[in-house]
Symmetry: C2
Subunit: 195 residues, 2 copies
């Protein structure tokens, strides 16, 4: 039986909302910003810094930049944050819970009681959602989506050596734009009980 | 409400079995080899020839070969088979049914009552399955899986200009190796009723 659900998601696909609702129905915790708070506490870095560096590579050519920003041991501050985040996730995963993002699927790859989920949606649904959730910004919604997705993908690939969003890495992938948030929650709730 | 289910699948993932079982539970037809028979009838080509050319590009560098085997109008026999197959699928899709493979998801792309599914599994489960289903062959199971997958992918990409198995093209993608065939059938049966 599954004890952990990991949700990877495209920006604006509603993956976090799905994670929160599934967790609520199953009466287990859902960890998203809670991980951030614990990493802030353990690392001493600011919340904004950890939020930005805990799931995204920075800069335009971010994948290559990640190889450059390193000391003479080939070590970066981003690596420290990844390591602390890994410890936090391994510790929280001792009890049943839902994780949203932060490479939890990779960090828990050796556990066979972990249901790995990917949530995606078409650009139009996601653009509509981020404007509703986060309001209008100076960038166009499409530009924000592309930037967030590509930096998340680069971060994931850099630390896991796997391709983010590759269907083969997940037990189930759902299009929340067509199926709707509640239908996704129903499917995952049922699946959890019999996985 | 969904009227059509299209199932794309990795070779050996049990996608055809899942399609047949879902169709049986929903009491609607499942079309797989039936499409083949209709194309054989309409085209006059042999069953083996249509089976091979109706879902796979041929040869090692098959994607490029597909541009070469053409008459002075840029037309190939494979194109004829694709066109006949398309007509057969559009005709059958007038009533609720399940399609397995044959680019049905692409052919029915303009319909919004079509639930698009992708079934995949790890190499080990698929190798075990093809040995059970099709017996031992001279090629190793891994070699057969890779060959079939790459030729299916090349065929799909050639005729649809989309990437086969890209998570964004499907409403739901399921790992039948981890979830099991029956769990996949349950999920699709429930989803059909509320999509």
């Amino acid at each position: 039986m599954a004890r952990i659900i990991t949700i990877s998601r495209q920006f604006g696909s509603g993956g976090r909302t799905i994670g929160k609702e599934v967790a609520e129905r199953l009466r287990i915790p859902c960890y998203d910003s809670e991980i951030l708070e614990k990493v802030v506490e353990a690392s001493g870095f600011s919340r904004d810094y950890v939020e930005e560096r805990g799931e995204y590579l920075s800069g335009k050519s971010s994948f290559f930049q990640a190889f450059v920003d390193r000391d003479y041991n080939g070590h970066s501050i981003q690596d420290d944050i990844f390591m602390i985040q890994q410890e936090v996730i391994l510790d929280l995963a001792k009890s049943p819970c839902v994780f949203v993002g932060r490479c939890a699927d990779y960090i828990l790859r050796d556990r066979n009681d972990c249901l790995k989920v990917f949530i995606h949606a078409d650009m139009e649904s996601r653009a509509r959602r981020i404007v509703e959730q986060y309001g209008e910004k100076s960038d166009s919604p499409m530009k924000r989506l592309k930037d967030k997705d590509s930096r998340r993908a680069a971060y994931y690939q850099f630390y896991t050596d796997m391709k983010w969003g590759d269907v083969r890495n997940y037990h189930i992938a759902l299009d929340s734009g067509s199926l709707g948030i509640h239908k996704c929650v129903d499917i995952l709730e049922n699946l959890w009980k019999t996985f």
